[in-house]
Amino acid sequence: MNDALSISAAIKSGQTTAKAVIKDTLEQIDRLNPLVNSLTTILRDQAIQDAEVLDRRLAQGEYPGILTGVPFAVKDLTDIQGIVTLAGSKINRDNPPATADATVVTALKQAGAILVGACLMDEYAYGFSTENSHYGASHNPHNLDHVAGGSSGGSAVAVAAGLVPFSLGSDTNGSIRVPAALCGIFGLKPTYGRVSRFGTFPFAGSFDHIGPFARSVSDLAVVFDCLQGHDPQDPISSDRPPALCFPELSKGLSGIRLAVADGHFAQGAHPEVFQALGKVVDALGITAKVTIPEAHRARAAAFLITASEGGNLHLERLRNRPFDFDPATRDRLLAGALAPANWYLQAQKFRNWYREQLEQIFQSVDVILAPTTPCMATKIGQQSINIDGVEILARPNLGVFTQPLSFIGLPIISVPVHLPNSLPLGVQLIAAPYNEALIFRVAKVLEDQGIVAAPVPNLINGSSVYN
């Protein structure tokens, strides 16, 4: 019983109580968090209190919601009332505590879920590995010497290590999908604007998305359904009414046209990446290929926009407190702040052109597949990776396959593939805007067939499955 829906059912049926579940969760966190460094804040008393309130409401015959008593954690750029929103930084420690929960936290609490903590991230979300100079690295539960991916590494680890059944992260250029892949769990980056960003610390407004991690497709769908919906407090929140995915899950592949992305997405990766992709492609019987044109330029344009928006966001902090930044983020933010406006504008024009190309592609295909990362999780501290005989920087290149797609806000699930004697890898299921239901259906088929799964590794005594 370690998925959200089972926990909720067990509490509602009286098999266990919310308080018992939360106490177990907190014990598990106490045991494992020192090994994996997932959580930066643990809400002990608050979580127990919330659980007790929930148990009283249940006793009075109330229905608290679909996620009754389910513990969850959120990336620490998410406002939690009474807690300072760190966003992985030292500078934010000086801010006053958040006065209210972020919209997504309120929505999940309204569904009965219980928040147990905030998770480590790369400083200000500018990273793909969650190696943070202030708070340390998050450790991959499948091999503690390896990174969890980023920037939502702590959130992914919380789920992958079995601390909580689901968590929230954010994705700007890959920061949900990369850690989902490297930690071997499911991660959803919804359509841009589908999930409220209100009450979350930003990075690049053009690309920031909030989304869930989970160890099952059903859990991922249920959480996403709780988060969908217009939020008038978020200026980019979509007006479209929610399109629930959980009720669609068992509809199978009927009518879904599938293709594998070639070109940019079919090269520049280690062989096991394509093995993992191949497993998924074969299971789905896909023969069609599709070319997403100029994907390498899309990645470049996303980089420029991120650099400029990030630099602009942090300009005052860079002026006043440059040495309080993580050195890894500081110099990049400084460089971005100095980029000429024409680079940014040209990248935003290219974005329109590219969006039109994908719109045309989605006339004849419904779900596109691509790898999530070019390699398995690198070692903590590793600077470079060898791809096709060339040494390239490890960290920025973890996003080579994710960045061209978040660039235009497409909904994507990274599904986990566990090859034998291997660290986990991910495959991206990509759909046209607002078609989350289709990628959920494909993910469910793969899960039912046993092609994708998110088993929790045994972490006792820091042992790992890899060495």
Partner: protein, 68 residues
Amino acid sequence: MNDRRLATLEVADIKVYLAQSAKLLNLPIPEECEQGVLDNFVRMQAIAALVNEFPLPEDIEIAPIFQP
């Protein structure tokens, strides 16, 4: 037709650009950060070339749409 490729600045010229644009933005670059900022900017220049060299129709607008 003009060559769409922007001139690629050499390191010496980039240093001048960074120093002057930092002054313009009132963004002091600490001496210890100069090399890191330079390295990142050199990388960014190459990345920008990928975008800037690509011909786009003249009537294409920037992606974000303002809603009054």
